[in-house]
Each structure stands twice: as structure tokens, then as C-alpha cells.
């Protein structure tokens, strides 16, 4: 361990903070970015932030349940990726780019 890290005690709170930060970056990214693929990646970032949070809490509570939950989340995220990419490919086969603002036939 390097002296720098040795001076800092890394506790689960750090991981929770990183998780919260990642989740916020994902949520803000989803709201402000207009590229559909990037918006999609932001959702994945949010889900992985939750995974980190679950693992950190599992460590803190000394409870294996929280770690098992991560596998459920991973499977769900994988299924979502498959379906989401399929929809994106289907819709943009007829179009030029993947910008969400071009998807404007329905007002709202």
C-alpha cells in the first residue's frame, strides 16, 4: 500500500459516495445529452452505480444478499441492452443519425 492510500482509511462510505456520484452523472447525462446511444449508456451507468451501492451496503451489513442482488441487476441490464439496441437499430435504419431531437413525429 502506498503511503498516500495508507493514510486514508477507505470505508464503505467512499463506495457509497462514488455510487451516488455515478448515479447522478448517469441521470444528468440522460437528461441533457441528445444522442440516443449516449442516453442509453447513461442508463447503464445508473444501473451499475446501483450495483456498486448494493455491494457496498452488503459489505457494511455483512450480508450476502446484497451481493446476490447484483446478479439479478446484471441480467436485467443485459436484457434491456438487447431490446434497447434492437429498438434503436430498427428506428434509425430509416434515418440518418441517432439524435433524440429528430424523433419528433409525436409532439411532447
Amino acid at each position: 500500500m502506498t503511503p498516500l492510500l495508507g493514510a486514508v482509511k477507505i470505508t464503505t462510505e467512499y463506495y457509497l459516495a462514488v455510487g451516488a456520484l455515478m448515479f447522478t452523472i448517469g441521470a444528468v447525462g440522460l437528461l441533457i445529452r441528445r444522442n440516443t446511444l449516449i442516453m442509453f449508456m447513461c442508463v447503464e451507468l445508473m444501473l451499475n452505480a446501483v450495483n456498486l451501492t448494493f455491494v457496498a451496503f452488503a459489505k457494511r451489513l455483512n450480508d450476502a444478499h446484497g451481493q446476490a442482488i447484483v446478479f439479478f441487476t446484471l441480467v436485467v441490464a443485459a436484457a434491456e441492452v438487447a431490446v434497447g439496441l434492437a429498438i434503436i437499430v430498427a428506428i434509425f435504419r430509416r434515418r440518418q443519425g441517432v439524435t433524440a431531437d429528430d424523433v419528433d413525429l409525436l409532439k411532447g
Binding site: V50, L61, V76
Partner: protein
């Protein structure tokens, strides 16, 4: 080799077989199996041009056969296997087998898939009836290590979802044939979607809630984008997907924080650990369940989390819209009730104001924004937001001590009735929309009453029911919700509800007026060949929903009674 099997059995070679409670997980398992069977069948009978052929008698056999079989089965149990019941059962099996056999021999893939789908859903309904009897006689029970709860509320929500699924299948059948799309896939997706909703209704663990939510959401994203002839449908699918995934992630983060605060994701365990946490410093828990409320608010389309609703309801194929309005709302409200009323009732001072606010905003936004719309599907989308608001009134008085469980049963009753009204209205809209669903603006409804008096009359019935006119079920539903609020002493929210119902009535009357004000110049297209085609599946759907809306409007007692007995939530 053989000697291995003939040795005497000793303890070392025994493998404990896990006990599976089939009654508890029966409905979703049956639906999932039916969906798999359809996929298998479709892949075996692929590549035929006959895939959309479907005779009316096949639909009738597929619909009536399973009902007949299960009626015979229940009567056989009651009357100790008398000959008559057995004959009815055999007739049911016979008609299903005949329809199935003929469809397979003639290579009518879609017809065979429909037979499987309807048999599966109706059998699942029969299992929920059996569950209901068990819950009524010997009380609620849990299964799968406490992750699945079978209680009154779960069974009620499952029943409503399954009935909506039957209607969704029938409407979808008619739509698939009209648009010439891939039939078996659509039916399989609808069944998978319903599977997720059934699991969600009885989920007693936050992770099961999340997985079920994703199972039905992912199927719904695909179904929303299913119509490849219409770019609007794919656009709606993309929007629903992005916002739906966003809301699921928010919900999951809420679950994670709740897990961190309470040390468990099981709703019963959480409730037990809350007794020690109430009144303490539990910011983690507050944020956790606030995020869960936001996530579920998205799914039930409560304002201010309703942005996706109008676009998705308008762009999605109409049978999917009907299913979404009828079933998704019920399943998501089931989870909402179970989590907040069942498990977090000790923290009601914290979440009730939030739900109170959501209810008011939903009612006002839904009613007022619907006025300025010109598309009928969009109008009904906004009205579904308002209906979510009325249900939320029931949710937020559900923990009131003097109101008893009136709130829960009012919310459940409202959801059941709303499913019928919404499915019926969207069924008519689907027919009026014609091929490629081009006709859904208010102008397209001009003169409908003269051309199609019966359809216009039925749509009027469904719209008046949604407006809450007496002698329709919608009136009773609104009455029970407002009564629950007044019983709890909350006059303001009941008043706001009534005012917003008045505003919403204007919206429905606009559609009705449009239908009955014939355009003087006649329609642009010639009258000959301009008749709307109403095929048998749609006929069954519209007549059943209309009959039930009238029946529950005149004699609501039976369903009210059921809803009152459905208030047992295991975690509570």
C-alpha cells in the same frame, strides 16, 4: 450400469427435492409456459403464407373451450364428479383440441398460437380463483422463501391483469390480422408481459418487484414499437424505452438505499425493522422510498412523472395501448400498495403528503391538459393520468385508522373498473382507426354516429363511464374513492377530485359531441366500402366490457365485496 439403479437406497444417495408450491406460483408459470409453447410452435410451422388465416369458429373454440373446461372442473369438485360436469369438461378439452389440431394441420400458425394463448390465460384465471378460495378459507401465505406472497390483494390484482390480458389477446388478434404483422411473436410477448405483471402482483421482496417490473416493461417496449409500418410506433417505443429504463434505474436505487437502511429487501422483514427506526434519523430510508415512489409513479403514469404517457399511448398500437392502460396501471399500483401501505405504513407521516400531492397534480394535469388535445388517443392518455390521480386518493387514505381499509379496497375497485372502461374505449378506437391507424383525430370521429350508430353508442357508454355518469361502473368507482377520502376526513382532496372530474367530463363530451355532430358535406371517402370492419375478437371484447361496465354500474355489490375482501396485504 444397471447395478447403479438396483442398489438399495441409502441416505448418502438421497437428494432432497425442493418442495415447490405450485399453487402460489401457478398463474405466472402457466403464462410463461404458454408463451414458450407459442414461440416453439411458431418456429416449427414457420414460412407459410397462411399464417394470418383465422376462422371465427377457431376463436370461439379457443375462447369458450377453456372456460367450459374450468367451469366443469369447479363444478366437478363441488358436485363430487357428477357425469354432467365431466361431460362439460370433456367438451371443453375437445373443442380446444379440435381447434388446435385443425389449425396445425392446416398450418395456420397464428390460429394455433391464439388457441394456446387463450387456453393459458384462462387456465391462469382458474388458478387465481383457486388461490382466492384458499386465501379466503385459510388466510394468506408466502412461498419461495418469503419472496412471493399470496394474499387477497395479490389475487385481486392478478385477476384484473389476466382479464385485461384476455382482452389484449383478442384485440391484438384483430389488429395483427388487419396489419399483417408477425402474429405469434406478438401473442408470446403479450403473455410474457402478463407474466411479469402477475409476479409483480404477488412480489413480497423488493428485488422480485424490480425483476418483475423489468420483465413486463421490456416486453412492453417491444410491443410498443411492434408496428413496423408506422414510424410513430417505433418512435413511441424508443421514448418509452428511454424513460422506462430511467425510471427503473431510479426505482432500483431506491431499493438499494432501503436495503442499506433496513438491512433487507424482504417487505415483511423491512416492516419489522422499521419499528426500531421510526422517529430516528433515517435520511437514507427517506431518500430510498422517495426514489421508489418516483419509479413507480412513472409506471402508473402519475403527474409529474407522466411525460411519456401521451406520446406512448398515441404512438403504440391501439391493442397495446389498451393493455397498457388496463394492466400496467393495475400491476404497478399493486406494487405501490404493497410497498407503501403494506410495508411502510409505519412511516405514513412521511410518504402520505407526497402521495397526496401526486394525486392532486395528476388529477389536475390529466383533466386540464386533455382539453387542448385534438387526438382521441392522446385525450384518453391524459385522462388515464387523471384516473391514476383518483386511485392515488385511495392509496393515500389506505393507512388511515378511522377509514379502515376503505382506501385500499376503493383503489382496487377503481383499478378493476378502469381496466374495463379503458379496454372498451380503446377497442372502439382501434376499429375506428382503420388500417395503419390513420384515423384517430377528433375530426375523424365526426359523423360516426350516423355511419356506425352501434359503435358510436358503445364508445359513448365507455366515455360516459370514464366521466363518472351514474348507472355506469365509473360512477360507483369514483364514489367509492371519494367516500374513502371523506370517511378519513379529507374533504379538500375529495372536492378537488370532483372538480377535476367535471373538467374531465368536458373532454369526454367533446368526443361524444364530435361523433354525434354529423359533418354536413359527408365524408371525403365514398360511403360504399367505407364501413368499418368489426371482427369477432373485437366484438367479444367490446360486448363483454360494455356489459360489465353496465352491470357493475347497476349492481356493483359483488365486485365491491370482492375488493373489500382483497385488502389483506401480508406485510401489513
Amino acid at each position: 450400469m444397471l447395478a447403479l439403479f438396483t442398489q438399495p437406497i441409502d441416505a448418502a444417495r438421497m437428494i432432497a427435492v425442493p418442495k415447490i408450491d405450485w399453487l402460489a406460483i401457478g398463474p405466472p408459470v402457466v403464462l410463461f409456459t404458454a408463451a414458450l409453447a407459442i414461440v416453439l410452435l411458431a418456429s416449427l410451422l414457420r414460412g407459410r403464407s397462411l399464417q394470418h388465416d383465422l376462422d371465427d369458429w377457431v376463436v370461439l373454440c379457443a375462447f369458450a373451450g377453456p372456460i367450459e373446461f374450468w367451469l366443469g372442473r369447479f363444478s366437478a369438485i363441488r358436485y363430487n364428479h357428477d357425469v354432467f360436469s365431466i361431460i362439460v369438461m370433456l367438451a371443453g378439452i375437445g373443442s380446444v383440441a379440435f381447434a388446435m389440431g385443425v389449425s396445425i394441420v392446416r398450418k395456420h400458425t397464428f390460429a394455433a398460437s391464439l388457441v394456446i394463448a387463450l387456453a393459458g390465460v384462462i387456465s391462469a384465471v382458474a388458478i387465481t380463483v383457486a388461490q382466492w378460495n384458499v386465501v379466503r378459507t385459510s388466510g394468506s401465505f408466502t412461498s419461495m422463501a418469503g419472496a412471493v406472497a399470496v394474499d387477497g390483494m395479490a389475487v385481486f390484482v392478478m385477476g384484473v391483469v389476466l382479464v385485461a390480458t384476455v382482452f389484449g389477446l383478442l384485440l391484438g388478434t384483430s389488429w395483427i390480422r388487419r396489419e399483417q404483422l408477425e402474429g405469434p411473436e406478438f401473442l408470446a410477448l403479450l403473455l410474457l408481459c402478463a407474466t411479469g405483471m402477475l409476479v409483480m402482483a404477488s412480489a413480497n421482496d423488493l428485488i422480485v418487484v424490480f425483476v418483475a417490473l423489468e420483465v413486463f416493461s421490456i416486453a412492453l417496449y417491444v410491443m410498443t414499437a411492434f408496428d413496423r409500418h408506422r414510424i410513430e410506433s417505433q418512435e413511441a417505443g424508443l421514448k418509452y424505452f428511454l424513460l422506462g429504463a430511467f425510471s427503473s434505474a431510479i426505482f432500483l436505487y431506491g431499493v438499494a438505499l432501503t436495503y442499506g437502511a433496513t438491512g433487507s429487501t424482504n417487505l415483511v422483514t423491512i416492516r419489522e425493522s422499521l419499528t426500531g427506526l421510526v422517529g430516528g434519523d433515517n435520511g437514507l430510508l427517506m431518500v430510498g422510498f422517495a426514489l421508489m415512489l418516483v419509479g413507480l409513479g412513472f409506471k402508473v403514469a402519475a403527474a409529474p412523472f407522466h411525460m411519456w404517457t401521451p406520446d406512448v399511448y398515441q404512438g403504440a398500437p391501439t391493442p397495446v395501448t389498451a393493455f397498457m392502460a388496463g394492466a400496467t396501471k393495475v400491476a404497478a399500483f399493486g406494487a405501490l400498495l404493497r410497498i407503501f401501505v403494506g410495508s411502510f405504513d409505519l412511516l405514513q407521516t412521511d410518504w402520505r403528503p407526497a402521495v397526496y400531492g401526486l394525486a392532486i397534480v395528476s388529477m389536475i394535469v390529466g383533466s386540464v391538459a386533455a382539453i387542448v388535445q385534438t387526438d382521441v388517443k392522446r385525450m384518453l392518455a391524459y385522462s388515464s393520468i387523471a384516473h391514476a390521480g383518483y386511485v392515488l386518493i385511495g392509496v393515500q387514505v389506505a393507512t388511515e385508522s378511522n377509514g379502515g381499509l376503505g382506501g385500499t379496497s376503493a383503489a382496487l375497485f377503481y383499478l378493476g373498473i378502469y381496466m374495463l372502461m379503458a379496454v372498451g374505449a380503446f377497442a372502439v378506437i382501434q376499429v375506428v382507426g382503420r388500417a395503419r391507424e390513420t384515423d384517430s383525430s377528433l375530426d375523424d370521429y365526426k359523423g360516426l354516429a350516423r355511419k356506425e350508430p352501434v359503435l358510436a353508442g358503445l364508445l359513448t357508454l365507455f366515455l360516459l363511464a370514464q366521466a363518472g355518469v351514474p348507472l355506469t361502473a365509473g360512477f360507483v368507482a369514483k364514489l367509492t374513492v371519494f367516500k374513502a377520502a371523506v370517511d378519513a376526513g379529507q374533504f379538500q382532496i375529495a372536492l378537488i377530485g370532483m372538480l377535476s372530474a367535471t373538467v374531465a367530463a368536458f373532454v369526454y363530451l367533446r368526443i361524444v359531441l364530435s361523433m354525434y355532430s354529423g359533418d354536413e358535406h359527408g365524408s371525403a371517402t365514398p360511403v360504399e366500402g367505407n364501413r368499418l370492419t368489426v371482427d369477432l375478437p373485437v366484438r367479444i371484447t367490446i360486448s363483454l366490457t360494455a356489459a360489465l361496465v353496465l352491470l357493475f354500474g347497476v349492481v356493483p355489490g359483488w365486485l365491491l365485496d370482492v375488493a373489500e375482501h382483497a385488502t389483506s396485504i401480508l406485510a401489513g
